[in-house]
């Protein structure tokens, strides 16, 4: 390379890798960025595309494939759709309806209860004495032992234990200093999610069996709400912590009650965060399989169970599964698009200072 050519080459390289200003990308990074985005989109969209075209295939096209392009590789058919909606009919619609009811109800409940809990954890200082927690657990063990082995009447045992606990709270508890603060409570709540749900599934099953609530919406809604609460609390507490305390104090000076402050000031201001949390929890509840498998049977069966049921004695029925997956994915996509515009940023501008 001759010396006089080098500056020209260097200028070209510089122009390719250095942006003209700070707000735009240089050509090479731009190409790299879009290439990465396109690659990622393909990774995400390919399974969706595959599911959609599979739902229009007949078994022979699936077994002899792979075929990628409808009308060219294979002739699309509505056989699978006909089977799912007409032949199965109510056996498709009932789980679908169950899924909608269970997911929406449990998500709404989890958001409502979880955001109230998160708000309380942010704004109210709790100080629970460690000693009283230990005494409570000790008394509980005593009650269980007394009822199970000494055959004491459970009403009597609970009454005695309750009286002892109140006595302790009124007298000795003040002598113990060690307490549990808000951050301990928060950690305790999130720690409920550390354990895999399969560990708790049998106790939950037995509990609902005793309550005669197996295979009902109530069982699924209650369980999903409880399972998703920690996530809601953990996510929304940060949103509430971001609301300027001045706004809430001002509302209280203006005469609002705590609940009114929560519903008319704090909640609207964390709306975007709540919407995002709602989406996340809704998807978790919508797709949940393991707990539904244990808690529901024919009546309360949800969509994930129906999908997996297509892999039965005749082997995996990919075409039926694909139809079910398409109708499962569709509403979530629609809701996500609809809610996206509510996830607006910068809502707090103008609240305090300039």
């Amino acid at each position: 390379m001759t010396p006089d050519k080098q500056p020209w080459l260097r200028r070209l390289i510089v122009r390719l890798i250095e942006p003209p200003n700070l707000e735009t990308l240089a050509p090479l990074p731009r190409i790299a960025t879009y290439a990465a985005l396109i690659a990622w989109s393909l990774i995400v969209l390919m399974p969706l595309y595959w599911v959609v075209i599979t739902s229009f295939k007949v078994p022979v096209d699936v077994d002899t494939g792979p075929y990628y392009l409808p009308f060219i590789d294979f002739q699309p058919s509505l056989d699978a759709w006909h089977y799912i909606f007409v032949d199965l009919g109510n056996d498709t619609l009932r789980p679908y309806f169950n899924s909608v009811v269970v997911a929406l109800a449990s998500t709404t409940l989890a958001i409502l209860i979880g955001s109230l809990a998160a708000y309380a954890l942010v704004r109210i200082r709790f100080k629970v004495m460690l000693a009283s927690i230990l005494v409570f657990i000790g008394l509980l063990v005593c009650v269980i032992v007394a009822v199970a082995y000494v055959h004491l009447a459970w009403q009597l045992a609970v009454a005695v234990a309750g009286a002892l606990f109140l006595l302790f709270l009124g007298t000795l508890s003040r002598r113990f200093r060690a307490g549990v603060g808000n951050s301990d409570i928060e950690f305790w709540i999130i720690s409920n999610r550390i354990m895999p749900p399969v560990v708790a599934v049998l106790p939950i099953y037995i509990m609902f069996q005793q309550l005669h609530l197996l295979d009902t919406h109530v069982a699924l809604i209650a369980t999903y709400t409880a399972v998703n609460l920690p996530i809601v609390v953990w996510l929304t507490r940060d949103f509430f912590a971001g609301v300027p305390i001045d706004l809430e104090e001002s509302a209280e000076m203006d005469g609002a009650s705590k609940f009114r402050v929560f519903f008319t000031i704090a909640l609207p201001l964390v709306r975007s965060g709540l919407v995002a949390t709602f989406m996340l929890v809704l998807i978790l509840a919508w797709n949940e399989y393991l707990l539904a498998l244990f808690l529901s049977n024919a009546n309360a069966q949800t969509m994930p169970l129906l999908v997996s049921a297509q892999n039965g004695t005749r082997g995996p029925q990919w075409w039926y599964m694909s139809v079910l997956i398409v109708i499962m994915v569709a509403p979530v996509v629609v809701i996500a698009i609809f809610l996206q515009k509510h996830i607006a940023r910068g809502l707090l501008i103008g609240a305090v200072k300039g």
């Binding site: 001002s250 209280e252 009114r260 300039g354």
Partner: protein, 349 residues
């Protein structure tokens, strides 16, 4: 309404931020709580508001003990330093909020908001959101929200400190006029002595949680109760000379002069305000020294003189022809001298 604080204490953990505050605010009075940051003035206001509990003492509003009463039952309106406008509500909904919470009829709310908006010149802005307003407009929304329900008293926590200097002067006058028109008891917290002097009927000067002086602005300025008050109020601050007081004759390092007092103190401090001092020839002044610095401010000149061990600032004419290093004297009237005990800091008459 009358507000009285009796022996109020407040501690955060082991730190006591308000120590035995006694305060009686008359009905319709404009009282300013003045102090540097950390003086406990905002904490005192928040205790009156009910946003902070008191560690000891009683608070009464209009003769009713409200020490353990929730803020919403105290019938007070508060203007926050940050304005605390509700960002998701329009200006109309912001101003109407105290009435909406009280479930007043719709027509009444609408009429009241329109009336208040005209008073604070927000007429055309009622449909806007706070983020679309300028600082001064936001301030007026906050004021409108406070006055709309005619509370027992206004509490204001540095309401003007986020405005630029020009607007601050304007809003200060507006505030004073508004308070005069409405005649509602107002407690106003600030660290700005000019706001305190111009707005207040009486000023309560706090330092480290202790009330230093509670008096009219004129008395606070002309008869400061102790060294702290004397040094805090006035700009540039009062000059202090250390020395000995013998039967009313003050003996300092830079000279000796008579005062209007007859008292004697071994360790005393004489305070003279810069505007009460004059620069004279070196043989005519009550104390002598040399010019240390000259600063032309515009309408006057500040001449700083080194007199013995102390610096004395003199507020002189704008046409002032002294040179740095020149030997001069500083003169003042005996009645312009404030005397303090150096040990206790208390005023000596």
């Amino acid at each position: 309404m009358r507000i009285s604080l009796t022996d109020i204490h407040k501690s955060f953990g082991s730190v006591e931020v308000v120590k035995g505050l006694n305060l009686d605010v008359e009905d319709g009075e404009f009282l300013v709580l003045l102090g540097a940051s950390g003086s406990g003035k905002t904490t005192a206001l928040r205790m009156i508001a009910g946003l902070e509990t008191v560690s000891a003492g009683r608070i009464a509003i209009g003769g009713r003990d409200v020490t353990d009463v929730l803020p919403k039952y105290r019938d007070l309106a508060m203007v926050f330093q940050s304005y605390a406008l509700y960002p998701h509500k329009t200006v109309f909904a912001n101003i109407a909020y105290p009435l909406t919470v009280r479930k007043r009829p719709r027509g009444e709310i609408e009429a009241a908001v329109k009336d208040i908006a005209r008073q604070v010149q927000l007429d055309g802005l009622l449909e806007r959101y706070p983020r679309q307003l300028s600082g001064g407009q936001r301030q007026r929304v906050a004021l409108a929200r406070a006055i709309i329900r005619r509370p027992a008293a206004f509490l204001m926590d540095e309401p003007l400190s986020n405005l630029d200097a020009k607007l601050r002067g304007h809003m200060r006058a507006e505030l004073k006029h508004m308070q005069h028109e409405l005649g509602i008891t107002t407690i106003y917290v600030t660290h700005d002595q000019i706001e305190a002097m111009t707005l207040a009927h009486r000023v309560a000067l706090l330092e480290r949680g202790v009330l230093q002086q509670l008096d009219t602005p004129a008395n606070i300025y002309n008869r400061p109760a102790n060294l702290f008050v004397a040094g805090f109020i006035g700009s540039p601050p009062m000059n202090f000379l250390a020395g000995e007081l013998v039967n009313g004759q003050f003996v300092a390092g830079a000279g000796s002069f008579g005062t209007s007092s007859r008292a004697s103190r071994n360790a005393a401090v004489a305070g003279i305000r810069p505007e009460d001092c004059r620069v004279t020839a070196s043989n005519e002044g009550k104390i002598v020294g040399e010019v240390y610095a000259i600063e032309l401010i515009g309408d006057h000149t500040l001449v700083t003189c080194r007199c013995g061990a102390e610096m004395v600032t003199v507020k002189a004419d704008k046409e002032c022809d002294h040179r740095i290093g020149q030997a001069i004297g500083v003169s003042f009237q005996p009645k312009a001298i404030h005397l303090f005990d150096r040990g206790s800091g208390e005023r000596v008459e």
